[in-house]
């Protein structure tokens, strides 16, 4: 039995010791926003925040999150309004197919929480672990730049 808080909601559930956090989120809690891409912690599609820090949930065990707080893409929006990062990805074409986007959004939010006004070099450094095959990344950089300008500093 593990206890974890996901997007502000506490959960108590029984999971096998080998269950990944990603499968736990997707299949036990029905939060399918986080995606499995590579399955080996390289592509970043499964990125979530664990106590505010980015992790690849496909290679983290659910039991590892016991007693901790998880934020997924479903927990980024504030009430009904999209988070500035989400809105910027829509406005600037920061996604196409969208499969990597939950991870991009979570990572970009963590970036802006840490560095509110990042340079392009800082954006590229931070977002290195989030692969995208559709956009060629240019519009992801633009989106994050736009979000930084939009966010209340």
């Amino acid at each position: 039995v593990i206890r974890l808080t996901v997007n502000g909601t506490p959960h108590e559930l029984e999971v096998p010791s080998y269950r990944t956090l990603l499968d736990c989120l997707r299949y036990d809690l029905g939060l399918t926003g986080s995606k499995e891409g590579c399955g080996v912690g390289v592509c970043g599609a499964c990125t979530v925040l664990l106590d505010g820090k980015m992790i690849s949930s496909c290679i983290a065990l659910a039991v590892f999150a016991d007693g901790r707080s998880v934020t997924t893409v479903e927990g980024i929006a504030e009430d009904e309004r999209l988070h500035p990062v989400q809105q910027a990805f829509v406005d600037s074409g920061g996604f196409q197919c969208g499969i990597c986007t939950p991870g991009q959004i979570v990572s970009a939010k963590a970036l802006l929480d840490t560095i509110p006004n990042p340079s392009d070099a800082e954006i590229r450094e931070w977002m290195l672990g989030n692969l995208c095959r559709c956009t060629g990344y240019y519009k992801i950089v633009e989106s994050i730049r736009a979000a930084a300008q939009r966010s209340p500093a």
Binding site: D23, V40, I76, V90, G98, T135
Partner: protein, 728 residues
């Protein structure tokens, strides 16, 4: 140019709110009551006879509901055009990764565990891996009688040849006799995955009425229905394909993949079945881009004019032809062996060859990145031999109005020269290079505007908004937004007043789906004409009730009172390619590190001859995305294979470009509203990928005198070539 309100507006991806919020449900996210999981056991050997399969231990594992082998399935071969692939290997495996058994279990972990409990005894057979060796006399034969397969073409110079595709203009032998000089070079390109980040996923359920409900990462729902009907021997009306967003396609998401097996598991267990490939399975048994060996021989006059060209391409197609969708069972992109040039005497021959490797399929502009790498490298090598500026050699041979492509299509509105000059200007081609070990290279290509057929329906709601119904899946390009913009423009509405409704295969009779750079054209025209018809209905209805045409809610309500809905459909069918194409000219500026051979792209210029741009954000997104895929193909990506065994089985080993790999980019757009699409749009999705590799290869040669003939251009290759060059 006519002024538009909505067409040409940089509207953001308002069709993708669910993608940033996490609410969009892809096929892998679909869940149903009682859902169970399917997993396939794959062959560890490249070519072997299956002596015995013992599934008893797997069947006995708690939580396992079914284990199937070929013996449990009807003897039906599957494919997209040529039907040569068993759903599960029957008596024989032909590549590492071929499915030999499939399991249904209550959860994915139990299914994985059960796989290890299936015992298969194999007996090795002689195997062949290289496409050149595969068509020698005495090579191991993969298929006893390929000609007997449904969809097979008759020409077969060797039993390991899947298909031969030929393009011919003039008299190539006579042309070579006119040549002052003749050049011949051979190029190789690597096995490369499309790199979509969503592995193939599918859910199949048999509902209470006995209908087969399918959710799949497949971009051609109606073709999928036909292919499933064929594979399952079910009438098509028993099958419904439900559309979901697709997590990247790039040509790779058009096949049945695991769906027939998911159906049989659903049939046997009475439960809905989900099958997700892991990425390792994608890299072992997806349907990647064909590796190639391409020999180009070109005859030129002393002034640089090309008089003849002969191209021979061998594509290593792997163990089955099943993934190729074209009637030629070959790659149409091989026609690009002629490049963007007028070549009066031309013969291109393309052979797709069986071998004991992963079966290959379509990847963004199938065949073209391979052919354009060969052709545009070849052009630069010829220019160097003739002591001509590579730009001058191209200028002397560019296509002009009235010329014919390799496939015989004649061309109009040819802007090859304008596109080239624009790229040269923007890249400062003729200015001195900023330093030593820095080089510039150019390459050109062109890409047709796709054809096909699409159904669209538009309806005026009593709220006054319009609903556009379409059964084209969203592969990520923003096509749904483009279609909304088209309908909104025609109907004089704001973009927010047109909503899209994703239909399924019950709602329309047919649709050619996504692919071949067709959707803006076919979907756009279907939406355009349907909207025009609705506009007429609105006008008629308005005058009948004495209402203004802008009082849409009142008009719809008045019609509803009479028991009518204002609704119009259009089926648009473009059968043949028109006389217009889109040219691309690209220039790479690279730096080569002499100590390591590392190639850094310092700057990249891409120029495109396009039609009316409907959504500039989406249009530019296609250019950038394709270009970085081309960059990966040029420098980074390679599925390394040894004796049929792919050693790069994760995205940690098979590397895709990251956000750190993108060069500073200049895009030049030449807009010419002459396309066949709505508002004279053309296509853009496959325009930017193919010329990237040769532009970089040519820049590397310019920087350090090293000519790389096989992709990718790794630091090792450049390093060793540099060492060889320096050594006497």
């Amino acid at each position: 140019m006519m002024a538009h309100r909505i067409i040409g507006q940089s509207i953001g991806r308002i069709d993708g709110i669910g993608k940033v919020s996490g609410e969009s449900r892809y096929s892998g996210d679909v869940t149903l009551p009682g859902l169970v999981w399917g997993k396939a056991l794959r062959s560890p050997l490249p070519h072997a006879r299956i002596v015995r399969i013992d599934t008893s231990r797997a069947k006995a594992l708690a939580g396992v509901l079914a284990v199937l082998t070929a013996r449990d399935l009807p003897d039906i071969l599957v494919g997209r055009r040529m039907f040569d692939m068993p759903m599960l290997a029957r008596d024989r495996v032909r590549f590492i990764g071929e499915k030999v058994a499939v399991i249904a279990a209550v959860d994915p972990d139990v299914a994985e565990e059960a796989l290890a409990l299936i015992d298969v005894e194999y007996e090795d057979l002689p195997a062949v891996f290289d496409p050149v060796e595969a068509i020698q006399a005495g090579a191991p034969i993969l298929h006893a009688n390929p000609a007997a397969y449904e969809g097979a073409l008759p020409e077969r110079p060797h039993p390991n040849v899947q298909s031969v595709l030929r393009f011919k203009l003039g008299d190539v032998e006579a042309g070579f006799r006119e040549a002052d000089r003749t050049f011949e070079h051979t190029f190789r390109t690597q096995l490369d995955h499309q790199g979509y980040l969503e592995p193939h996923a599918g859910v199949v359920a048999i509902d209470e009425e006995g209908r087969v409900q399918v959710w799949a990462s497949n971009k051609m729902p109606f073709r999928l229905k036909e292919l499933l009907s064929h594979a399952l021997r079910l009438p098509p009306e028993r099958i419904r394909v439900n559309l979901t967003p697709i997590g990247g396609d790039f040509g790779g998401k058009g096949s049945l993949m695991d769906l027939p097996l998911a159906y049989h598991l659903a049939r046997v267990t009475g439960r809905p079945v989900k099958m997700l490939m892991r990425y390792a399975e994608e890299l072992m048994a997806g349907n990647p881009r064909h590796p190639s060996v391409i020999t180009m021989r070109t005859g030129v006059r002393n002034d640089g004019r090309i008089v003849a060209r002969r191209v021979k391409a061998l594509f290593n197609s792997g163990a089955y032809a099943a993934f190729k969708p074209a009637p030629s069972v070959n790659l149409g992109g091989t026609g690009m062996g002629a490049g963007v040039y007028r070549i009066p005497n031309l013969l291109i021959e393309s052979f797709c060859v069986y071998s004991n490797n992963i079966p290959c399929g379509h990847a963004r502009s199938p065949g073209e990145p391979q052919m354009v790498f060969a052709g545009e490298s070849h052009m630069d090598m010829i220019a160097r031999e003739l002591a001509l500026d590579p730009a001058d050699l191209r200028r002397r041979n560019l296509l002009r109005d009235g010329d014919h492509l390799a496939n015989g299509h004649h061309l109009e509105h040819v802007r090859a020269s304008d596109t080239l000059e624009a790229a040269l200007k923007a890249s400062h081609w003729s200015e001195p290079k900023p330093g030593p070990w820095i080089g510039r290279g150019m390459a050109m290509t062109h890409r047709h505007i796709g054809v096909g057929f699409t159904n669209a329906r538009v309806r005026l709601e009593t709220s006054g908004t319009v609903t556009l119904s379409i059964a084209l899946p969203d592969t990520g390009t923003g096509a749904h937004l483009v279609l909304r913009q088209v309908a909104a423009e025609v109907l004089g509405l704001a973009i927010g007043e047109v909503e899209i409704e994703i239909a399924n295969t019950d709602d329309f009779t047919t649709d050619s789906g996504v692919g071949g750079s067709r959707v803006t054209h076919t979907g756009g025209r279907a939406a355009f004409h349907a909207a025009e018809k609705l506009k007429e209905q609105i006008q008629t209805e308005a005058s009948k009730h004495g209402l203004s045409v802008s009082a849409r809610a009142e008009i719809a309500q008045a019609a509803a009172k009479d028991g009518r809905t204002l609704e119009a459909s259009h089926f648009y069918d473009a059968k043949a390619h028109g006389a217009v194409t889109s040219f691309t000219a690209q220039v790479a500026e690279v730096a080569v590190d002499p100590a390591t051979g590392q190639v850094t792209v310092r700057h990249f210029t891409t120029a495109h001859d396009v039609g009316t741009i409907i959504n500039p954000i989406g249009h530019q997104g296609q250019i950038e995305g394709g270009l970085i895929q081309g960059l990966g193909f040029a420098l980074i990506e390679e599925m390394k294979t040894e004796e049929g065994r792919i050693s790069t089985l994760s995205l940690g080993d098979f590397k895709l470009p990251t956000i750190q790999d993108i060069p500073p980019l200049t895009t030049v757009i030449l807009q010419d509203p002459v396309g066949p699409g709505p508002f004279n749009a053309k296509a853009i999705g496959e325009g930017s990928i193919s010329a990237v590799a040769p532009a970089i290869a040519n820049a590397v040669a310019d920087a350090c005198g090293v000519r790389i003939l096989d992709l990718p251009i790794t630091a090792e290759k450049v390093y060793y070539a540099l060492r060889e060059k320096v050594a006497p």
